[in-house]
Symmetry: C2
Subunit: 346 residues, 2 copies
DNA sequence: TGTTAGCACTCACTCTTTTAGAGTGCTAAT
DNA sequence: ATTAGCACTCTAAAAGAGTGAGTGCTAACA
């Protein structure tokens, strides 16, 4: 049995209607509100076929049909039109966003949090956003003695991201030595990435350091830590409570589980890696069981990746019920993505 | 009508029982499970009095009684015994905590987050913790040129808290000038607090700066920002979903409202200031409507303040239903507070 | 005078039954 | 191939009945 044009149309109508109303849709509704001019009985036959094909589901015998995961999949892959009429509204949104975002480019964290909040408010779903994985290369390093026995080590990375650490010295250092170390580090490592700092370089440095070999090693550790940027990955969420707007998610058990997942940010990293379901343009859609996070199997997740430069990127995402307004969400994500790209490039 | 010993005992029995069971408690229960040897009828009479006095409430005509806010207040103020037997258990807990905490003193943020998690797990309520308001005085300042036209400004505060900012210069600076500025700032401002940096000092500095007056001003702004520490106040929450364990909080509307409040960390700052209900030892208990946050009027909140040094402190708190196990919560908070004090003093 | 037994009464809860409505599947006619 | 018609299914909401915990009041008692 194949999906002919009529079945396709009917399926589309069912899904559209369900997305709008959130109620299972019956044959009569489709019969009335499509231009197919078919009686409900005919629709019923087709629906039975569609169910057999796995695109729709009957919650119980005497209910209408709702889309299955497979149905949704088909919808987002083939049915979601990018309506041109909506561009108008969209354009307005873009501008608002721009104004909103450009106010405070300073504090990246705050910017991201606000962006998440904006997204959550706009869509009425839960949003999440991860800090970008910045900076691959070293730009500048500054060592200075804060007080006796304490060496302040400031590392500036490409993209003007700054890390610092105070190192406890076991002996005193004179100003001259510190100056020398500063020059040594900056001359040797400037512009290099984690990978480019190899053993050859390191041994050259330790050789030059003379009696301060140990210290150089310690400082290199700090640099490594900074470059790895492991501990920088932060994930912000917003609009958690929006899930209560959707009865299918808001019973105590499910809500609790979901909110728990959102609180344990670490669990969310899975969402930020997988690119399997990417559909060009850096938008990924996970429907139901497709999501890499078990607890979200009753949700859909849409993510987008914003980029600063090659390979330096973060992720924004929306989590909502499977019957979310995918078009709106994708629109919003695209807009925000563009805005973020723009802001960071500046 | 006064609260004689018998009424006191009965009230205590009612509250204890209610805290344990979570069910309204009836006269028969009290009659059986106290050593007063009174019939249920007598208890009923007393209960009627206690209700008139405002200590207990009847949810509906044919239900037992539950404590009112006033009743809880009396309980935490006068009935909560610090049972010595519990000290044993407590001692064990302390040690566990110590091991747990001493692992990672490095990353304060992580430490606090983990502490919050620990508290939430231990108590089965929601926990919150605020970063300490550090550092009042300036320890060290370091200016250095990262690349042409960009000046890196690192400010180290008492307590080794580090802030940095990159300043865009409108003109080039030579190494000598930067050195001079470094010396100027460190000599003039070292060890001073926000308040001590007065206009006299500032004008002296700008005078000495010569053509770089404007730059000095900019740097002073950075210093001021760092010293104010406004943007440092962070609040972490954990165990949000624990509220679902308490039916009186977990209906959709209330839970949503609560979680929303917890998400909007800014709203929580109110909890961290007010000291009105402090009961020695830095433990504050807010019952129901007493809390400064409207949305928590069905909860009780217990907070403790941990201190680094005079006036430098943060707050830990527990949010739960009014029928929370106050003794346990207070124990836990005390323990954690002590641990944090110890860790930070080290 | 304080305490108690006894009893009628209240009210939330649970369980069952009823009803209404939406929607289906099947059959026979077109 | 499509449709009208009808019996059937199932949910959700409403209505009703029974249960039990707990009360308030009264009258008797020590």
């Amino acid at each position: 049995m194949e999906l002919d044009t009529r079945k396709f149309k009917i399926l589309q109508a069912i899904i559209k209607n369900y997305l709008e109303t959130g109620e299972p849709v019956g044959s009569r509704t489709i019969s009335k509100y499509t231009d197919l001019n078919l009686s409900s009985a005919t629709i019923r036959n087709e629906m039975a076929d569609l169910e057999e094909l796995g695109y729709i589901i009957q919650p119980h015998t005497s209910a209408g049909r709702i889309p299955s995961d497979k149905g949704y999949r088909l919808y987002v892959d083939q049915m979601m039109s990018e309506k041109e009429e909506e561009l108008n509204n969209r354009e307005r949104e873009v501008i608002e966003l721009k104004e909103f975002l450009s106010e405070k480019v300073e504090k990246v964290e705050e910017l991201l949090q606000d962006t998440a909040k904006l997204l959550a408010n706009n869509t009425n779903y839960t949003s999440l956003i991860s800090t970008p994985k910045y900076f691959k290369s070293l730009k500048f390093i500054q060592l200075s003695q804060v007080e006796s026995g304490k060496l302040l080590c400031v590392v500036v990375l490409q993209g003007n991201v700054i890390k610092n650490k105070i190192i406890d010295l076991n002996k005193e250092l004179d100003t001259e030595t510190i100056l020398k170390l500063n020059i040594l580090f900056n001359n040797t490592l400037n512009g290099l990435t984690m990978e480019e700092i190899n053993l050859a370089l390191i041994s050259r440095m330790t050789a030059q350091a003379g009696e301060h070999t140990e210290l150089v090693r310690t400082i290199l550790d700090v640099v490594a830590q900074a470059l790895s940027g492991d501990d920088d990955l932060k994930i912000y969420t917003s609009g958690t409570t929006n899930i209560f707007k959707y009865p299918e998610l808001s019973d105590s058990a499910k809500a609790s589980e979901l909110i728990c997942t959102l609180e344990e940010k670490k669990l969310l990293t899975n969402l930020l890696v997988d690119k399997e379901h990417s559909e060009g343009k850096g938008i990924q859609i996970y429907i139901g069981a497709e999501t890499p996070i078990q607890t979200m199997k009753d949700c859909s997740v849409v993510t987008a990746t914003y980029e600063l430069e090659d390979g330096v990127s973060g992720t924004i995402g929306i989590i909502g019920p499977k019957r979310m307004d995918y078009e709106k969400v994708v629109e919003n994500l695209k807009t925000v993505k563009e805005q973020l790209d723009a802001v960071f490039k500046k």
